[in-house]
Symmetry: C2
Amino acid sequence: MARSRDALTHDRVLQAALALADSEGLEALSMRRLGTELGVEAMSLYRHVPNKEALLDAMVDAIVHDWIDDEAVPAADWRGRIAAIMHRAHATLLARPWAIELVTVRPRVGDGRLRYAEAITTALLEAGFTPQLAHHGLHIVDGTVMGFTAQQARRPSAAALGDRVHALYNGDLTADYPGISVTIREHHDHAEEYSLMVDLVIDGLARLRDGLLPPRTGSGASYVLSLA
Amino acid sequence: MARSRDALTHDRVLQAALALADSEGLEALSMRRLGTELGVEAMSLYRHVPNKEALLDAMVDAIVHDWIDDEAVPAADWRGRIAAIMHRAHATLLARPWAIELVTVRPRVGDGRLRYAEAITTALLEAGFTPQLAHHGLHIVDGTVMGFTAQQARRPSAAALGDRVHALYNGDLTADYPGISVTIREHHDHAEEYSLMVDLVIDGLARLRDGLLPPRTGSGASYVLSLA
DNA sequence: GGTGTATGCTTACGCCGTAAACTATGCCAC
DNA sequence: GTGGCATAGTTTACGGCGTAAGCATACACC
């Protein structure tokens, strides 16, 4: 058979998948489509990738991998180092919206993920956090990076919202929603708000370490619902 | 034709969908499967639901709707009220893992969502937050509820992880990952850790309002990547 | 030349959401 | 009653999906 100009490889498949997701979004990424993109039948891809899940995992790892470049983490104190990682991850994820869906939904442990976790953890340990608090802190940082970013990215734009939001803008629902009616006109961009959140989290971690954060709210166990 | 014992209604379809998702997860919820669950052909469902997306949205609204029961929000100060809502939402979501996927990925604005946003916003405004800070605060609270919870729920259990994690437990990777090797043995449950996060966030909001949270990390603009 | 192995193609299976057309039932005005 | 019409559910079918199984080609090495 006439061989294609360039042989298929795992890396070529991965790069094509990244490119396709970048240009047309995750939902356009099917094996058949990816095949035609590479001038090849869908089943040919399975010579280089065990299945689609594995391909998605490889895409995730490609994303997370450069959160911790050697030069990306400055030689600052723990606050600066953690902030730098958080901002870098945020920027990477917002630049590729589909990456958020993949990274948050597929928490596989790869090299990139481990290096990222290690960087956060050592920064906390060196800053005097106990192992237990460092463990919590990693989750808090990770939850903020992944969770807050995802929430930001998926927050519906005012344009895409329904009639009710227009009514809110017009002040027609002030009686029902007085608070939102006041605040809905506030605007700000994601980077700025994320920056605020990063500062809040890092400050909170420091206060946690120093015992300055009195528990006020209890464990919340009383709010557990009995679901029918 | 022999009519089924009970006529199909939008609500019966919705309840069956919730039950199916509860018992077998979101991926089991197909229109065909839902039909057989109700003793009916798949296409019959379309008399009561415009399409599957609308059904999922209805499921989301059913979840979010009881985050703000009238009795659920205690007559406490703003911290207590926000903490109560956050804990209630967290408990609801963790009790139904599939709900996390739906609620975070489908940010449609329904009544439940608005009441939830309103409760948070008014609590902040009454506590003396400026409209701008209240707007940020809503996003911070919402991001924590949705994002941190989602991150917790999807965090892979040690049992489900690969060889590398076992190696970490055994201390075989101490050279490569000294930090994680120390902290990986720490354990805690989700409710406890979430409680910590809630306290951290509420404390941070108060400090934000009072101008006690100095911006330390900059906007992070310098970390924006130029993606190939 | 012959053989082994890697690579890609063809076909097919069982899922999915849902459009379109059809059938069976219940109700109501005449 | 009876004709007409709305409602509820069925049947069939279309185009998509991931991928299992088997076949065809092409190259490397003897």
